[in-house]
């Protein structure tokens, strides 16, 4: 038996190949760095399945990091159930399983969001102090934690130098289509707090925002109703997520 394994537990998709890309890419980068004996990405909707984890890991100490952007149904019910976890610490058959908080709830995410927003505006672009930042989360009426996670990051980002900072959601108010009413600035940077560019951030939100197509992506800025909208790809793509994953694995949840 080997010593330490790191497992990224993610959603994946039956329909969209991009959905699992960040989790697989981050797992490969951490594997290449060599500090764990095994690094795996396992999925709810792809293979290897969440439930295959115990067969795949051959280590005495297994840390599982849920690659979800908020605590909720998947991080608190589905992943623990499929992996047979009792809570933050489970011991079974001589193996210790540590289960961390979801990546998206980590306080460092606010820095990742701010940096993505600054990069989207560009060095010669509109000044930060005259631009609004809107963080878009999934949100769900079934679990308040999804919305609360976004609001916590927004509260932190109020000190990051933007003219205004607001939150919008896909499945609860205020909705993505409400963004023009939420902020007054002419320049608005919109950062999707999503794990990947799956259907929600690659299709639903650009449609709701009325963005203009440019090649494979969206025009930056897209001119919509007298505003300049700068839309970034999903936060989960950011290579800085690797640091967040490693911090959680090291027991650093702050």
């Amino acid at each position: 038996m080997l010593a330490r394994a790191l497992v990224l537990a993610a959603h994946g998709s039956h329909h969209n190949a991009h959905s699992s890309l960040p989790a697989r890419r981050h797992a490969a980068a951490i594997r290449a760095a060599g500090s764990f004996d095994q690094v795996l990405a396992v999925f709810w909707k792809e293979f290897p399945a969440l439930g295959d984890t115990a067969y795949l890991v051959d280590c005495a100490d297994v840390t599982i990091v849920p690659f979800f952007m908020a605590e909720g149904y998947f991080s608190q019910r589905v992943v623990p159930r499929e992996l047979g976890l009792d809570g933050p610490l489970t011991e079974r058959d001589g193996v210790v399983y540590r289960y961390t908080a979801a990546v998206g709830a980590h306080p460092r995410l606010a820095d990742v969001i701010a940096r993505r927003a600054r990069a989207a505006l560009g060095e010669d672009g509109p000044p930060l102090a005259e631009s609004a930042l809107v963080v878009v989360g999934h949100g769900t009426v079934q679990n308040p934690r999804s919305k609360e996670t976004v609001l916590e990051h927004v509260a932190t980002l109020r000190g990051a130098g933007f003219a205004e900072v607001a939150a919008a959601f896909l499945e609860e108010p205020p909705f993505v289509a409400d963004i023009p009413r939420l902020v007054a600035a002419e320049t608005v940077v919109i950062v999707p707090l999503f794990v990947a560019d799956g259907r929600h951030s690659a299709e639903d939100m650009p449609r709701d925002l009325g963005l203009t197509r440019a090649g494979d992506g969206w025009a930056r800025p897209s001119l919509v109703g007298g505003r300049r909208l700068y839309y970034t790809s999903a936060v989960g793509n950011d290579p800085a997520m690797i640091d967040v994953i490693l911090a959680l694995a090291a027991g650093d949840e702050r």
Binding site: M1, H14, R24, D37, V42, F47, D52, Y55
Partner: protein, 197 residues
């Protein structure tokens, strides 16, 4: 210690004892290690593999292929001179988790479930499958899990009966998420038809 997990060691030891070529799902493994699609002959023009994940995750038309054990692995590629680690990496990319499940079954550690157990633990939208009878599930598996759709060897049971087994090396001990989505769609369609009537 090799630094490899037990299932990788177990597979390599087993492979070393088999006379080549060895067929692993839709992959032909020749000594050396050389890999190609089982239906491709050595003298065909075969392109080197640039990315195993892309090969596994896209079909011949370039569309996303969510089920790696579907019998439509693309043809026309080859890879040679793979060392043991590269061989394991390739087979894991093509059939993620497959070697570990195969090894667990050989070691007598694979937990085979009954459909009723799966049905009971479905929550949320997936709880709809609780409306299905055993016959519904067997009929669904007969279509969805047959070798024409998936090469995994079905071991999970519906009560006393197992769905059609199939002959693939990779076992299927628990209904997969694609099968669950399939039976949910059946249950939802039936509910909607009931409401319309």
């Amino acid at each position: 210690m090799s630094g490899r997990p037990c299932w990788a060691e177990g597979f390599l030891s087993w492979l070393a004892e088999q006379p080549p070529p060895v067929t692993w799902m839709q992959v032909r493994i020749d000594a050396g290690w050389r890999l190609r699609h089982v239906d491709d002959a050595a003298d065909e023009h075969l392109a080197p593999v640039e990315d195993w994940e892309i090969l596994a995750r896209t079909d011949a038309a370039g569309a996303y292929r969510p089920l790696p054990t579907a019998p439509d692995l693309r043809r026309g590629w080859e890879a040679g001179n793979l060392d043991d680690d590269a061989l394991i990496e390739a087979l894991e990319a093509l059939y993620p988790g497959g070697l570990a499940l195969w090894h667990a079954e050989r070691a007598g550690r694979l937990a085979v479930v009954d459909w009723h157990e799966v049905q009971r633990r479905q929550t949320g939208w997936q709880g709809l499958v609780k409306r299905l009878t055993d016959d519904d599930v067997r009929a669904a598996a007969a279509g969805f899990c047959a070798d024409e759709r998936c090469l995994r060897r079905v071991l999970w049971r519906v009560g006393e009966e197992a769905p059609p087994r199939g002959g693939g090396a990779v076992p299927c001990a628990v209904p997969c998420s694609l099968f669950l989505a399939h039976v949910q769609a059946i249950a939802a369609a039936r509910r909607d038809a009931g409401r319309a009537a």
